[in-house]
């Protein structure tokens, strides 16, 4: 960093917006427009790519916006609505601008076409999205030939760069982007041999299993994984093995696929390099910040939302979360309510829940609770309790880890509460 800091090239050395938003994807754009309507004067969005919109720009398929607009939009269409709203609201968007450093005092250093600039904002929102897990993250043995892609990288090559990535493809992991790419590659003339999933259930939404795999007769093998990738220059073969109930490879249950490409759709991790620099407390479960119901991190005035906070299933909810973060950030700027407003009451998820968002709630707040289960469950009732009091309750015909469920408290958190419990009951 010292190298850059000594290299002041810009005519503007310091920016002082009310609110700086890092990331111009669905979370950041929604947050920006919401911050303007909540009364923030100067709102600055920092976007690394030449175009705002984030990952939506390469998600050319449809299925976005059904919750929010009641319309079935493609990724670019959904992004354009928020981009236009942000621009109409008078938000300043800086493309090709990278946030390089964030301090515990919310000082931000950015690098873009206008040089190297310091940003001192009244509040900062982290809307940096998430990254894909790679081959290194899951440690597949074998050689290291070309032809192993993450699903999002494959999507970028096909949908943005007009580059075909292979002819015979095997997909490891059944995350939504992997399923979408199975369909896309098939339609583009590749042969998708199989989707292989380690768990006994799919990682993606059931509608994607149906419309991306079943529509094209692509087999999905649950309880299977890849044990070896082989090839000298390019992938030549992949060994797939069946797993027993304990997740161990069943000997003799191997099958070798002759293929030139492997796509990994094995999970997403919130992008939090800047948050870590600033000293934000991260959750080992979600990989995102341990926020309160106002989506504020442990650093006063630093907020997080969208996939940088926790990986969502639907972009509609990402946008909504961005808006919540923005409204709370504006409240923070107005009140200058430093550490005093930190939420105090911890939220405790029941054993069957992977996580519950937020991690803390303030007494008197009426937050939205998001959660994911650890494994598929049938008919269940989810109850939010403080002391003996039921604050929210909802029945679900079934629960799946791929789906993020949400419920809003019907009454505020009691002032005397010391713990918010989220329980699952057979109903």
């Amino acid at each position: 960093m010292a190298f850059y800091r000594g290299n002041e090239m810009s005519e503007e050395k310091i920016l002082r917006p009310d609110l700086a938003i890092i990331g111009g994807g669905p979370a950041g754009l929604a947050a920006a427009a919401a911050a303007r309507s909540a009364g923030a004067e100067r709102v600055l969005v920092l976007e690394r790519e030449p175009l705002a919109g984030g990952i939506l720009n390469q998600c050319v398929h449809d299925g976005f916006g059904l919750v929010r607009f009641g319309e079935n939009l493609t990724g670019p269409e959904y992004a354009a609505r928020f981009l236009q709203a942000a621009l109409a609201a008078g938000v300043e968007i800086r493309p090709q601008t990278m946030a390089l450093e964030l301090t515990a005092q919310k000082q931000l250093w950015i690098l873009g076409p206008r040089g190297y600039v310091r940003v001192e904002a009244g509040a900062v929102i982290l809307a940096t999205g998430c990254r894909e897990r790679t081959r290194g993250a899951i440690q597949i043995p074998g050689s290291r030939p070309a032809g192993v892609f993450t699903a999002g990288a494959a999507q970028y090559y096909l949908n943005r760069q007009n580059l075909m990535i292979g002819r015979r493809v095997l997909i490891l992991g059944s995350g939504d982007i992997g399923l979408i790419m199975a369909r896309r590659l098939t339609l583009e003339g590749a042969r998708v041999l199989a989707v292989v999933e380690k768990m006994p259930y799919a990682g993606g939404l059931t509608r994607n299993i149906s419309q991306c795999l079943e529509d094209y007769d692509i087999p999905l093998y649950l309880n299977h994984t890849v044990t070896k990738i082989e090839g000298r220059q390019r992938v030549e073969s992949v060994t797939v093995v069946r797993l027993d109930e304990a997740g161990r490879a069943v000997s003799g249950a191997e099958r070798v696929y002759d293929c030139d490409t492997v796509i990994l759709s094995v999970g997403l991790i919130p992008e939090n390099e800047l948050a870590l620099q600033a000293g934000v407390e991260l959750s080992p479960v979600t990989g995102g910040a341990m926020v309160g119901d106002d989506l504020q991190t442990n650093i006063p005035g630093l907020f997080a939302c969208g996939n940088a906070l926790h990986v969502h299933d639907l972009v509609d909810y990402v946008s909504a979360e961005g808006e919540t973060a923005a409204r709370n950030a504006v409240t923070f700027i107005r009140a200058e309510n430093r550490a005093a407003a930190r939420p105090l009451i911890p939220v405790r998820p029941a054993a069957g829940l992977r996580y519950v968002m937020p991690f803390f709630v303030r007494p008197g707040a009426r937050p939205l609770i998001s959660l994911r289960v650890k494994e598929p469950l049938g008919r269940r009732r989810i109850v939010v309790k403080a002391g003996g009091r039921i604050l929210a309750e909802r029945k679900f015909p079934r629960l799946a880890p791929a789906k993020m469920e949400r419920l809003t408290l019907r009454e505020p958190v009691p002032l005397a509460a010391t713990l918010l419990e989220v329980m699952i009951y057979d109903s």
Partner: protein, 150 residues
């Protein structure tokens, strides 16, 4: 004779599991279970007689800031023509600038449904730096192209 059939509704992310009770030819829906809304019935009936899906893909752009423009069919297409339709898209191109919502093809494969752009692609500006001109030197990205291109 009543035939039972299970399908997944793909209209929305709820992904209802539909159970269809239809006649022997699987063309007439007698009874439906599992649909959380009225769209489920519509989907189930259509799935039996004329299954359709929205086509989403990309088309090459000449003179654009980006090489491709994302496109969709203005309405869902008969499912069976999708592979041929995507193959056909590989053979066509459009000229920049492209506006979002612009009609790229008036009629996809005689289905009477238009192909529309789902994003805007600006014309490439002359002074934009081609990516190849960015050279990596000792870990620092800089632009070797100081000359304005014509």
């Amino acid at each position: 004779m009543i035939v039972e059939k299970e399908i997944q509704c793909v209209i929305c992310p709820a992904g209802c599991e539909l159970r269809l009770f239809c006649d022997a030819t699987a063309a007439v829906l007698h009874r439906l279970e599992g649909a959380a809304c009225a769209k489920g019935r519509e989907f189930a009936e259509r799935e039996l007689t004329d299954p359709r899906r929205t086509l989403t893909s990309t088309v090459k752009v000449r003179g654009g800031r980006f090489p491709l423009v994302s496109v969709r069919s203005a309405a869902p297409l008969p499912k069976h023509i999708l592979p041929a339709a995507v193959a056909m898209l590989g053979a066509i191109w459009t000229e920049a600038p492209v506006a979002a919502g612009q009609i790229i093809l008036a009629d996809i494969m005689g289905a009477g449904i238009a192909l529309v752009a789902t994003e805007a692609v600006e014309r490439k500006k002359n002074d934009e730096i081609p990516e190849k001109r960015i050279v990596r030197v000792t870990g620092f990205l800089y632009n070797s192209n100081q000359r304005r291109e014509t």
